[in-house]
């Protein structure tokens, strides 16, 4: 087994590396195409702003490499978001592996009518704007339930943007509107939460990925 963690200058590489070390796995941190291609498993982490992260990916030519990988690839948080389509935060196109938009979760709380993940909905939050805002602060920060592989698991989230439900949805969380907490398509996997910071549930998920 050779695990490559893509090091493109954005994010929490150390945390991911340490989490895998706790599982008894050594990883290499790299941005080298040959190294990445020769790995059995690739992890694509990311924390920060979509625009600067995408620029760093492009600077290193990784925007061309990642979509063509054939081994299991796991995007975490911003990594997952960058594997999607149109990204509202960075006002840019992601890598397009998952055909889904990344949109702000803030707009749910503005006055009616409310646009929820591309659809207009009226009525449901009428008069509740302030209460909703108090109960659902943004960023969505903390532990929340995810329905994944027919089970409920609790993971740690920190994000202000989310992917809507789509055909690649693998795990669903609600805040309060359902969104894609995890995505899956062919050899590509993405999680909005942080498995490296999600206690034993997170460790299980990482082990599951490494067993692919």
């Amino acid at each position: 087994m050779k695990i490559a963690v893509i090091d493109y200058g954005a994010g929490n590489l150390f945390s991911v590396q340490q989490a895998l070390k706790r599982l008894g796995k050594e990883v290499i941190l790299t941005r080298d195409e040959a190294e990445i291609r020769s790995a059995t498993h690739v992890i694509f982490p990311g924390v920060g702003h979509a625009k600067s992260a995408m620029k760093q990916l492009k600077d290193h030519g990784l925007d061309k490499v990642i979509p063509t990988l054939a081994q299991p690839v796991l995007g975490i948080c911003l990594g997952m978001q960058l594997m999607c389509g149109w990204n509202e935060e960075g006002k840019l196109d992601g890598l397009g592996i998952f055909q889904v938009r990344i949109e702000s979760i803030q707009f749910q709380f503005t006055n009616l009518p409310i646009r929820q993940f591309g659809k207009w909905q009226t009525g449901s939050f009428e008069g509740k704007s302030r209460e909703m805002r108090s109960n659902y602060p943004v960023p969505h920060m903390g532990w929340n339930d995810v329905q994944i592989d027919g089970k409920a698991e609790t993971f740690y989230f920190v994000h202000s943007y989310a992917a809507e439900i789509c055909e690649d949805t693998w795990g669903i969380a609600s805040y309060p509107v359902p969104f894609s907490a995890a995505l899956k398509k062919d050899n590509f996997y993405g999680v909005q939460f942080h498995p490296e910071k999600s206690g034993s549930a997170g460790e299980q998920l990482l082990n599951q990925f490494l067993a692919l």
Binding site: F14, Q18, G48, H49, Y175, H194
Partner: protein
């Protein structure tokens, strides 16, 4: 679903040790920070806060290795704060495994730093810590470990820091800190009306009832405490068990 309410032990770290005082003074030793962090995460803490309260540059050098050690050994998120006044310092801490950085005095001195940090690392990892003290009918921001009265109105300040890019607020009532008289519920109720980012309440936790009041009377999502956990007055499993009867708690 709403997020689970967060129980957050705070470790004040000076010269490599966890310490704790009352009303920001009268410091006593509370043990090895890495061991404490491991213990709390095993016991079910939802997050941790590590604050560097070093007085000298020499002591400050001892903080980064602790952050790395905690990141290696602990599988829950943690925020670090204390003495962060530049993007570079924040970057070092985040690259050492911290999930969020917290700024306090440096935000008051240079509010533009909040925006600068948010633009580089994203709002979601920028916590602004605010130390407040009641003065007549209003609440006033204090800095420098509570020693300096800035004269700034706390409710105005928290709106400003959110508009500048803060993704979370850690609000400590100094009237409560270490005194175990309960959280400053009135303040958190007002604060919640004004901003839409998550708030962590700190200062004054002495009993399980104080946490029950916090989570039933305000929409605050996080409750932070130090000495009651360090000195074994309330255990995290006991606290979470009681709270799970009245609110959404992760077990």
């Amino acid at each position: 679903m709403q997020v689970y309410k967060r129980i957050i032990p705070c470790l004040d770290i000076q010269n490599g040790r966890t310490v704790k005082g009352t009303n920001f003074e009268g410091i006593r030793d509370a043990g090895d920070p890495v061991e404490l962090a491991k213990l709390y995460s095993k016991q079910g803490a939802d997050e941790l806060v590590l604050l560097d309260i070093s007085a000298t540059n020499e002591e400050r050098g001892t903080f980064l290795p602790i952050v790395e050690a905690v990141a290696s050994e602990v599988n829950i998120p943690f925020t670090v704060g204390g003495g962060i006044s530049s993007v570079e310092t924040a970057r070092k801490l985040l690259r050492s495994g911290a999930d969020k950085v917290s700024i306090n005095s440096s935000a008051v001195k240079n509010p533009a730093l909040i925006t600068e940090l948010a633009n580089v690392f994203g709002s979601q990892c920028i916590v602004v810590a605010i130390d407040i003290r009641k003065s007549g009918e209003s609440w006033v921001v204090h800095t420098h470990g509570g020693k300096r009265d800035t004269g700034i109105d706390a409710l105005k300040w928290l709106q400003k820091v959110v508009s500048l890019g803060a993704g979370e607020l850690l609000i400590t009532s100094m009237d409560g800190d270490g005194t175990k008289n309960g959280f400053a519920l009135d303040f958190y109720k007002e604060a919640e009306q004004l901003v839409s980012v998550p708030i962590i309440a700190s200062g004054g936790a002495g009993t399980i009832t104080h946490f029950e009041e916090l989570f039933t009377q305000t929409p605050v999502t996080g409750g932070l405490a130090a000495s009651i956990f360090h000195f074994g007055e309330i255990s995290i499993p006991e606290l979470k068990n009681e709270l799970s009867k009245i609110t959404r708690i992760r077990n």
